[in-house]
């Protein structure tokens, strides 16, 4: 018996608000434990793909399923239930400015109703793993771009979210930090998490189980 895909797009057509086509017959599948690296230039539809998967917009025709839930406009609340299972970094995902680094990282655990002792335990693990111990009580406006990215990675991992969506993983990172991020991505992949990495550049990532796609003319090639 085959495993249920984490993401499944079938013959998706999507128009922009101005009416121009964004996706034309887009089909794509991401199985548990797999990584999809999707590259594409500016305006190729990377952000629209994220919007489609989190329920911020809906396909004109075709079907979009995330964790087995078909996302439909009239059932838009359903799509929001999936959000707690997605760890997002970059793009539309950013930090909550009114919360400290620690509060930002533990927020998915708060939503999941995890108790304080477990929360503190996981927080300490994340702060150590991403070298953020010193910044624990800082607020996002006081963080550097690198630190900001690292906090987002920590937040996307703290609740072992089964799907990681990373928009431009190398954006704003120096070479050393990017290498650490790549190591983290490898580790996440090996732990069985599914990942969707969106990038403008063709990055060489030594991630096992990774499939490469390119968004061109509204379809994945």
């Amino acid at each position: 018996m085959s495993e249920q895909p984490v993401i499944e797009l079938y013959n998706v057509y999507l128009n922009s608000r101005r009416g121009s086509p964004v996706f034309k017959d887009l089909s794509f599948e991401l199985k548990p434990g797999e990584t999809a690296f999707i590259s594409g230039g500016a305006g190729s539809g990377k952000s629209s793909l994220v919007d489609l998967l989190i329920g911020r917009c809906f396909a004109e025709t075709g079907s979009v399923s995330v964790f087995g839930t078909t996302l439909k406009k009239r059932l838009f609340r359903r799509s929001r239930r999936n959000l707690s299972r997605i760890g997002g970094v970059g793009g539309i995902f950013s930090l909550i400015p009114s919360m400290t680094v620690s509060e930002n990282i533990t927020f998915p655990l708060v939503l999941a109703g995890v108790g304080k002792s477990v929360r503190n335990e996981r927080l300490f693990k994340m702060l150590t793993e991403f070298s953020l111990l010193k910044q624990a009580s800082e607020y996002p406006p006081g963080l550097t771009r690198v630190e900001n990215s690292l906090v987002q990675f920590a937040r996307a991992s703290v609740a072992d979210q089964p799907l990681l969506m990373i928009d431009e993983p190398s954006a704003g990172l120096d070479k050393g930090t990017f290498e650490r991020v790549v190591q983290y991505l490898v580790k996440a992949s090996l732990s069985g998490r599914s990942m969707m990495i969106l990038s403008s550049d063709e990055l060489e990532l030594p991630i096992p189980n990774m499939k490469r796609y390119r968004l061109e003319g509204g379809a994945l090639v």
Binding site: R80, L83, S84, S94, I96
Partner: protein, 287 residues
């Protein structure tokens, strides 16, 4: 408990991080509601003032000349049996003469010792709830139906004017009260809107992480509740304190009962939640 703890912490953080906004909102709403409370007290006091004025109102029922004295006690019984009549006092011809003398300061009837031309009458007082035009007209009509009654007199025009004035005050007050209340609610909605607007990015991120609208809104809605209820209570406290510092000689300030004040504060708190939601809902839309 985790989510509840988070909501409480967010509520406290809102107040600590934006003390100026919270304090300004509280102060402006308190002043607006103080105005409302003032009007409420003024309305209650003026109502009591009118009630006292009207309580002096009497009706004179003049007995027909041909009615023999033997029928007067039966007439008195029928008058006292009329709904709304509180007391009935018989005024004989001699008593009427004394009254007239007291009113004009001299005996106008000198020389009429044998044949006093003044009519016999009954002087009526009424229960407070009957002291209005409709009831007084009804009583007058009922009493006019008695054969022994010649004519009836009471200060109808004065009562009419008093009622019109009271009605005008009430209408103006209702309008002013409504205006003040709307101002208070709009102020709360606007304050919450501004507060929510400054946190729009955070709200969006919370939604992207899977937080529901109610979970995001609850700290601000609780804040609205506390703001509305607190400002209403503070308004009354200020007014009560102020009234204790001054004394009026012509009238006594009439405050609504404490139970009503409590319900008012609770209702205000609930209305503030509603206006807080109105100020917040745009930020909670999933776009």
């Amino acid at each position: 408990m985790t989510r509840v703890g988070f909501i409480i912490r967010e509520l406290v953080n809102n107040l600590i991080r934006h003390p100026g906004t919270a304090f300004a909102s509280f102060l402006s709403l308190t002043l607006i509601l103080l105005l409302f409370d003032l009007f409420w007290v003024a309305s209650g006091t003026s109502r009591e003032f009118y009630r006292e004025l009207l309580s002096d109102l009497e009706m004179e029922v003049f007995v027909a000349e041909e009615t023999p004295d033997s029928l007067l006690s039966s007439l008195e019984s029928r008058i006292i049996g009329t709904a709304g009549v509180k007391t009935v006092t018989f005024v004989s011809r001699d008593s009427a003469r004394v009254r007239l003398q007291a009113m004009v300061g001299g005996d106008l009837l000198a020389g009429y010792d044998e044949t006093n031309p003044l009519p016999r009458s009954f002087s009526l007082t009424f229960w407070p709830e009957q002291l209005n035009l409709a009831d007084m007209d009804r009583i007058e009509n009922e009493l006019s139906g008695f054969l022994e009654v010649d004519r009836i007199y009471y200060s109808r025009r004065w009562l009419e004017k008093a009622e019109t004035t009271r009605e005008l005050i009430w209408q103006f007050g209702a309008l002013l009260g409504l205006l003040i209340l709307i101002t208070g609610l709009v102020t709360t909605a606007n304050n919450i809107r501004l507060m929510a607007g400054s946190r729009a990015v955070g709200f969006r991120q919370m939604q992207l992480l899977g937080a529901g609208s109610l979970f995001i809104a609850l700290p601000l809605l609780i804040e609205s509740f506390l703001l509305g209820g607190g400002a209403a209570a503070a308004g009354w406290a200020l007014l009560k304190y102020g009234s204790g510092q001054v004394a009026f000689t012509q009238f006594t300030l009439i405050f609504p009962p404490n139970e009503q004040i409590l319900w008012f504060c609770l209702a205000l708190a609930c209305l503030a939640v509603l206006s807080g939601y109105l100020g917040l809902r745009n930020q909670l839309k999933w776009r």
